[in-house]
Symmetry: D2
Subunit: 356 residues, 4 copies
C-alpha cells in the first residue's frame, strides 16, 4: 500500500501528470512548531533544474497545507499537504504508451494492474518523492525538538569515493552542486557527471546518511530492528539497489575481536570506543551515531536508442527524450534524509511504549 | 513488535532460557498440504552442533503443531507451533548478569526495557530464529504449490568469495558443511573457519539468496517494494549489516546503457536479456530470478577476554564461555531462506488484491 | 489514527474551517469504472441545507479527484479526493474558544491534545463525514460490479418507529425529506422534527441499514467478525450510541428454538428460512441480507442557553448560535451507507485470501 | 485475522479439539508485576461446569506462561500463554460432520475455507474465549497500576431486567451464580434459566460493563473512537447481537436539552453533572464512568431435534447432544471484562503518543 510508518505515519498519493501529488501525515503529536520554510527548503534541494548536473526541467514546487496545523502548531490531527503538478500539459506520449522502456516499471505495472497511467511514469515517477521530502521535513520538526539531526551526502559517484564520513565536515555538503562535503572529490564527481551527460548516458552513486543525537533505546528486538526499518525505507526509494549500516559489507572480512565495540564510561554516559555497530545493537540504538550507505543504480532513462518490445511483443526502438538526470544521487540526498527522519520519528514515538 | 508480514503473518515469542519458543502463523490460506517433515528438515539445517564448524551445543528441536492443521491440510485458522527449550538448566549467569558484553544487545535492552532476561541473551538470542525457520517452512509449503523455490548458500567467508551465483549448481549447497556450492571455495572457507576457531575468534560472511519461478506482478510501487520488504526481512536477522539485490553496490559504477535490461520475447513470455534488475523493476517482480546478498558481521561472542563496563559503570572483564559459532553463515542459510519465503508468500497473497 | 479498513483502506483529513477536507482511498483494485456522478449524488444527500428539517447552512460540495483514476478507470494506485471548504471566513468564535460546550468534544480534545482548532468543532466536526461519503461512493462502485447494494433509511425519530424493514419498499426512501420509506411514519417524523426545531431543541433517531446480495463467506471468525467491523464503522460516526444487527437487543428475550435459523435448500442455493442471524453466522456472511440498526443521540448543539465552565473552571453560559440540524438522522442515511459500503468492500477483497 | 489491538496486542490460536489453545500478548510494557493468580481466577469465572446453570462439562484450565515474564515482571517481550485442551478424546462427530447446525458457523466456515475442523466447532468454539480471558487478565494487571477497574455483570436474562447499574453494588456480582448484583432479580433469573434448561432450550441476555477511573483523553476522534473499539471488541464475542453505551438506544427518544451533560467543577476536577455520554465525548474519554450493554442471543445449541440440510443439500435432523449452557451470559461476564480491559489497555498506551 502507500502508507509508511506505524505511529508517525504517512500516506502518499499522486501521479506525475495528474493534477497534484501529496501526503497525509498522521500521528504527528500535537504541539510541534510548524515550520513551512523548512518544507520549502527541503523541496528546493530535491527539485529538478537546480544545477547543471541535474535534469533541466524547471518545476516550481507550490505546496499547500490543508489541515492539522493551527496557529503555528500541529494539532495532533492529520496534516495533509498537496503539491500541485505544474507540468500537466498534454505531451505526446505515443512513443512510450505501449512500449516497455528497459529497466523501467512499465512492464511490471502492466502485469500487476492491467492498466497504467503511462504519462511520465505514473505512480513510479520520481516525482512521488516530493511528497516524501515534504513529510520528512515535518518529521525533522519533531526530531529537532530532541536535538536529533539527520544528514546525508554523496559519498560515491561511479568509482569515485569520498573519504570515510567521520573525517568529513558535513556542514559543507550544500557548498557544491553534487552534495559531497569533500571538495576535491566533489570536483571530480562533477566532471564525471558532465562527461556522462555528454555521452548521453547515466551513472550510479552512493548516498551516505548520518543520524546524530538519537537517544539509546529506539528500535525493536526482532523484526522491526531500527536498521531493518531504515533499510526498508531506503530500499523503497526509486533506483536503490543496496543498503548497509555500520561496518556493512566490509565488516564481514573482520574478526570479532576487532569488530566488537568496547563499552566505556564517558562522564555520565555509556559509550563505545569504536562504532562498527553503526549505533545499533540488537536492533536498538545505543546512543552512538547511526550511519549507513545507500546504493543507487544508474538512472534507467538514457538519451540513447534502446531495443525493447511492446505490449504485443513486437520489437521496438525506445528513444531517449526529454530532460533527465545523468546521475540521481545529488537530488537523492534530501530524499534519503527525509526517509531517515521518518524512521527516526516513528521509533522515537514508539519508544514511549516500552516501559510502564 | 514481534509480528512480520501483512497477509501471511507470523508472530514469534520466547526467550532462549524460558520453557519454549514458538510462532503463530496467521493468514495461511486453507487447503495447503502440511508437511511436518519439511519443518523437521529445515530445523535440522539450522540447529547447533550439526558440524565441527558450528557451535558444539547439542539441541534437539522438538516442535509441536498446536492448531490450524486438520487431516493433513491447513484450515485457514492460525497455525501455532511450539518448540521446547531443552537447555533450561540453571547455569551460572553471574558473569553476564550485570555486565554489558561488547556488541551484544545487553546495554540497549537495559535502556529500552529497564529489565531483561540476562540468561543466554533473552529475546535477542539466535535461538529465536528457530521460530522463523519453522514459519518459513510453512511458507515454502505454500510457495511450492506455485513452483516457487527459495534457495540460499554461503557466498563469502572473510575475504573468500565464491564465483557469481549464476555459474553455480545450487543443488550442491548441502554437500559440504559450510553450505557453499563451489567445492574449492568451500574447502578454503572451512579451513579459514577452523583457523578462526583455533584463534578463539569469529569471522563474518555473506549469504546469497535466490528465488526462482516467482510470477511477475508481486510487490508494491512505493514503500512496500518487493525488494524493500525483502531487505527489511534480511536486516531483521541477527548480525546482518547489509543487503543488496541485483547489481547491488557494484552496480553504482556502471553506466545506464550497460545496466539497463533489454526486454525480449522468449516464446510466449516476456523476459529480459540480462538481469541487473535482480528480478524486480519499480518494486514489482518481472518474472526473472530474484537474487540478493546478505552481509553478516563476525559473531560478537568470542572466546577471549574483553574489556567492558557493568551497569554501575565499573570496568569489568568479560570472558568468553560456552560453545559458540566461529562463523554464523553456514547456519544462517536456512534462516535467510525462511525469511525470503515469508516475504514471497506474503506478496503472493497480496497480489490477489491488485485487480478487479 | 485516521485510517479505516485493511485492504480497501481510507485515510481522511481536514477540519471544518481549514482550506479543505479530503480522503485518500488506498487498495481499490485497478479496473473499477469510476463514476464521479455517484460521488456528487451521495454528497448531495449528505449536504446541509437540503431541506427544511436540516440545517439551513448552504454548502456547495466541490470535490476534485487528484489521482488514481485514468481514462475513466481506477488504476490500483491511491485515489485522493479533496473537498474544498467554502465557508472559511473568519467568524467570531470567541464565544466557544475557551468554553466547553456540553456533550461536545471540546473538553476531551483539550485534555488529549492540549491544543485544538476551536473553529466549528475542528476535526470532530460533522463535516468530516463528507470525506467518508466520498470514499463510500467509491466503495459502492466496487460493490456494484458484484451486484451488492447498500441501503439505509430512517426507521425511528424520537419515539416514532417505522414498521419492520422487511415490510418496506426501500426504493421510496428518497421520496421524502426525512428518508423514511414508510410515508405515514415519515409524515409524523417530519412534524415532530418541525416541532423540535420550533422548541429550539434537538432529538435523536435510528437509521436502519440493509446490505443485499453479499456473497457468503465474508468476515473473519474471531475478532474481525463481519458484524464487529460493521459495528465499529457505525460507532465511529458522530453521535452514534448503539449498534445492533439481526435480532439485536430484542433477540435476547427469545428462546433458541425460536431464534435459530433453519437451513433450507432453495434451488441451487443454501438459504435460511428465517434470518434472525442478520446474514452473519460465526462472524461470516451466509448470503442472506445483512441488516442493522444504528442509534443516534440528539444533536448536542441546541439553540438554548446552557450552563458550562471554561478552561479556567469559571462558570459560563453557552448560547446556541448558527444553524444546526434539529435531528441528524435524515442526513446520516448516506453516511451509514458509506461506512457499510466500506466494510463490505474491505471484506470482499479480504475473502480472496482465505483459500489456496 | 486473529490479532486484536494496536499497541497492547493479542493474537489467539487454537481449536477446541486440538492439543491446545493460547495467546501471545505483544506490546505489554516492561515492568508490570505479573499475577498468575489473577489469570487463574478469571479462567475459573469463565470455565464450564462452575454451577448448575452452566454447562456441566468439567474443564480444568491448566495454563502455562511460556515467555515474556522474568522474575515476576513483564519484560516487554511477547507473553505467550498456552492452555491445554483436556478433552481431546476422539468422540463420535459423525452426526455433525456433514450437517449444518442451525445458527452455527458450520455452513459459513465451509463456504469460506472449504475445509473445517468439525469437532466441537473448531475455531468458532466458545473455548477460544479462554485465550481472551487470559489476555484480559494481563491487561487488567496493567490497568490496576493506574487504578482503573473493569467490571461486568448480568443485567438481563430473557425479559428479566436488573435495575439501572448506578443503583447497584457491583461488589455483589460474584455472590450468586448468575452474576447479577441485584439479589431479587438474580433469583428470578436463576429460576428462569432452570426452566429453560428443563425445556431443553436456551435463552439470551444482556451483560453490562463498567470501566471506572479511566483518565480523560483516551480514544481517537474519527474511526478509532473509544466506544467504537469497545463496540467492536464486544461484537467480536460469540453470540453478541448488539452493543450500546451511555444512553444507548433509549437515548434516541430524548431531547438534546435533556440529554446534554453539563460540565461542572468538582474540586480540582472537571466533571459532568449527568453522564448520558457514557464517559466518552467525541470518541475520547472524559473521565466519567464508561458503561455499556452487550446483547447475547440465545445459544444456538439446543437439546431438541432441529431440521437442517447437509453438504449435499439433503434434509437432515440435527439432534442436540452433550452438555451446553442454557444461557450464556453468566459465563460471558469475565469475557466482557477481558475484552473491555484489552481495549482500555490499548488506548492507555496509545494516549502516550498524542502530545509532544
Amino acid at each position: 500500500m502507500n502508507t509508511y510508518g506505524q505511529h508517525f505515519r504517512i500516506t502518499t498519493f499522486g501521479e506525475s501528470h495528474g493534477p497534484a501529488i501529496g501526503v497525509i501525515i498522521d500521528g504527528c503529536p500535537a504541539g510541534v512548531e510548524f515550520d513551512e520554510l523548512l518544507i520549502r527548503r527541503e523541496l528546493d534541494r530535491r527539485k529538478p533544474g537546480q544545477s547543471r548536473i541535474t535534469t533541466q526541467r524547471q518545476e516550481e514546487e507550490g505546496f499547500k497545507v490543508l489541515s492539522g496545523v493551527f496557529e503555528g502548531k500541529t494539532t495532533g490531527t492529520p496534516i495533509a499537504i498537496v503539491i500541485e503538478n505544474q507540468d500537466q500539459r498534454s505531451k505526446d506520449y505515443t512513443h512510450i504508451k505501449d512500449s516497455f522502456r528497459p529497466s523501467h516499471a512499465d512492464y511490471t505495472y502492466d502485469v500487476k494492474y492491467g492498466i497504467r497511467d503511462y504519462r511520465g511514469g505514473g505512480r513510479s515517477s520520481a516525482r512521488e518523492t516530493a511528497a516524501r521530502v515534504t513529510a520528512g521535513a515535518v518529521a525533522k520538526m519533531l526530531l529537532h525538538r530532541s536535538g536529533i539531526t539527520v544528514q546525508a551526502f554523496v559519498s560515491q559517484v561511479g568509482d569515485l569515493r569520498a573519504p570515510h564520513f567521520s573525517t568529513l565536515d558535513l556542514t559543507k555538503t550544500e557548498e557544491n552542486i553534487v552534495r559531497c562535503p569533500h571538495p576535491e572529490t566533489a570536483e571530480k564527481m562533477i566532471s564525471l557527471i558532465d562527461q556522462v551527460r555528454l555521452d548521453q548516458d547515466t551513472i550510479g552513486g552512493v548516498v551516505t546518511g548520518v543520524i546524530k543525537n538519537l537517544p539509546a533505546g529506539l528500535g525493536e528486538p526482532v523484526f522491526d530492528k531500527f536498521h531493518a526499518e531504515l533499510g526498508k525505507a531506503m530500499l523503497g526509494i526509486n533506483a536503490v539497489k543496496g543498503f548497509e549500516y555500520g561496518s556493512g559489507f566490509e565488516g564481514v572480512q573482520q574478526r570479532g575481536s576487532l569488530h566488537n565495540d568496547e563499552f566505556v564510561k564517558d562522564g555520565d554516559r555509556i559509550r563505545t570506543k569504536t562504532n562498527h555497530s553503526g549505533g545499533v545493537q540488537g536492533g536498538i540504538t545505543n546512543g552512538e551515531e547511526v550511519y549507513f550507505n545507500v546504493a543507487f543504480k544508474p538512472v534507467a532513462t538514457i538519451m540513447q536508442d534502446q531495443q525493447s518490445i511492446d505490449k504485443e511483443g513486437n520489437a521496438v526502438t525506445v528513444s531517449g527524450k526529454g530532460r533527465h538526470d545523468p546521475c540521481v544521487v545529488p537530488r537523492a540526498v534530501p530524499i534519503v534524509e527525509a526517509m531517515a527522519a521518518l524512521v527516526a520519528a516513528d521509533f522515537l514515538l514508539r519508544a514511549r511504549l516500552s516501559r510502564v
